[in-house]
Subunit: 347 residues, 2 copies
């Protein structure tokens, strides 16, 4: 063996030990079977038993690949609307506010206390999914189960329109609502990306000197677009809606952020300043890949002195209350908690 190759061997051995040390803190979790929880409803049990969607590991990159991916997912979301509309007595109509396409959803009956109130809905879908009516399911559930008029913003999507397009559209709709409603009578809500956008909207409104709404609700919000937060790791493959970060989700974060640092607060609101936020309710599931996204934000709000409520749903994966049908106990619980919160906190 030459002196050079001996040095090389020494060096490699040293590096090997170094990496072993660095990795020593990671815990080895052995492979195991995870049963369907008996504490979940029948509807949730069935959904959990379906396992993970095969497409969670897809990584669209080009605009064309994203469009193919979106068309498939959105088609499936639109098919989910019919059973909702059959079960729930709501009407909706398309329109525009501030130049942005919106849907206005009205339940059959609005209780007197909610007559002067409106909820702005920002749908989820990683900034890349849920074009048009594909994003309406949550808005319909909230209108029907909560008894509110809901305006859902059909904001522009990435990768065709990266940050800040989606947020600009949400702001344009919010500004339009401010012309007809007292800020204290407006609530804003959304799930996942829609929850993150709800928080970003408040940050943007503060920066522009706009009044903040009376209350907001963030279902399992995407508050950190980077893979930071424990549940990105602990709930990988435990969450059977998202599966994990290292699939289309990572690609979606890149597609939306574009050249921006993902830790900018308008992209990852967990890095923002929470002073002046309105009362906020946050919710997630115990199996949720975004559990840490939710919990970290809840703590930030509390430590800033903001009234921040937290609801957790047993056995639920990310945003799964949107996929169980309107009668599932988890769905009813989620939307009732949000409805009660808005009723207590809106003027």
């Amino acid at each position: 063996m030459s002196q050079k190759s001996f040095c090389c061997l020494l060096c490699c051995t040293g590096l090997f030990f170094l990496f072993s040390l660095l990795d020593a803190s990671a815990r080895q979790i052995p492979g195991h079977d995870l049963p369907v929880p008996e504490t979940a409803s029948r509807q949730l049990q069935n959904k959990i038993a379906e396992g993970l969607p095969a497409w969670w590991k897809e990584t669209p990159a080009t605009v064309e690949e994203w469009q193919i991916f979106r068309n498939k997912r959105d088609e499936s979301a639109r098919q989910g609307l019919s059973p909702l509309l059959q079960a729930l007595d709501v009407k909706y109509a398309a329109g525009k506010m501030g130049g942005v396409p919106v849907y206005t959803i009205l339940p059959a009956r609005i209780p007197t206390r909610n007559e002067n109130r409106v909820l702005l809905h920002l749908h989820g879908g990683g900034y890349v999914l849920n074009k048009g009516e594909a994003g309406l399911g949550e808005a319909i559930l909230m209108a029907a189960l909560g008894g509110f008029k809901v305006v859902s913003a059909d904001y522009r999507l990435a990768p065709e329109f990266p940050y800040p397009a989606a947020l600009e559209d949400a702001l344009a709709v919010y500004k339009t609502l401010l012309k007809s409603y007292q800020p204290a009578n407006i609530g804003v809500f959304g799930t996942s990306t829609g929850g993150g956008m709800t928080l970003a909207l408040i940050l943007a409104a503060k920066a522009q000197g706009l009044p903040v709404p009376g209350a907001i609700a963030c279902g399992t919000p995407w508050t950190d677009l980077t893979k930071t937060g424990d549940s990105y790791f602990t709930n990988e493959q435990v969450d059977n809606v998202l599966g994990g970060y290292d699939g289309w989700l990572r690609s979606a974060a890149k597609a939306y952020a574009g050249s921006h640092d993902m830790r900018e607060p308008l992209l990852s609101p967990v890095y923002g300043d929470m002073a002046g936020f309105p009362p906020t309710i946050l919710a997630a599931g115990t199996r949720d890949l975004f559990l840490s996204n939710t919990v970290r934000m809840h703590r930030k709000l509390r430590e800033a002195g903001i009234p921040a409520d937290l609801v957790l749903v047993e056995g639920l994966s990310h945003a799964q209350y949107l996929h169980l049908g309107p009668d599932a106990p988890e769905t009813v619980y989620y939307f009732r908690q949000l409805g009660d919160f808005f009723e207590r906190n809106l003027k």
Copy 2:
């Protein structure tokens, strides 16, 4: 092959397929490395990196085995007291209330608003651990970080004294406090078993026609002594305090329940009737084996119309706020949330 053994083979094959079907709903989670979360404090990161305690899989059965097990654990808990007492300005004294040994802990200064208030502390330890001063750490932290007078009940332990001994002792101390304090000025709190006992105490007080306290706080409470609840499975070996249910924890549940059905509400309060409960704050960690114990109880309280607050701590395993030292951000956050809650809800 005889006809009989052929039948036998058929039967076995049938059973095999049946079990395969039954098991088909369980998800196979592949083995993986779980990194130490960057979103945890340095103190929590160090604790997580220590991994699981080797003894979580021990299953003491006889009184002698339990005493050996308890002596080791309690010795370690007592050693943890000195750094707490050095860091925090509190004094404590042993005494008796209603025939039960107690410790009264006084911080150096009690804020005026807390002068007429007292907190009853029920320590954790699976009904089998934390005899005497070994159970005092949490009471000292609460007294010092919250500014309250705390009375900690040194209740009888299993297996020597199974159910309902521990609960009877807690009730005897509570009844004694009722002689000197207005119920609305009394708070009750505890972690793990102490959180479960806090809930059971309210159920027992209601049954005996006693007034309930002004507010209660349950840290990651043991609300279901059976292995029911999703996080018993999802957080096995993710939680590095408890490890899993199938070790000393299962043995402790048996030792305490004795001949009773573990689903009796005074043993597993998640099966109780929450009507008439006082305002309750519940807390747990995202890695907590008792996450479901906490979340299921929170939902039951909310659905019964009880003001029930929920706090979750990023990256934290079961009751880990008791093991990080009084300066750890997670510890400060936990005890501040409890302190604020008692200040808002006690008279």
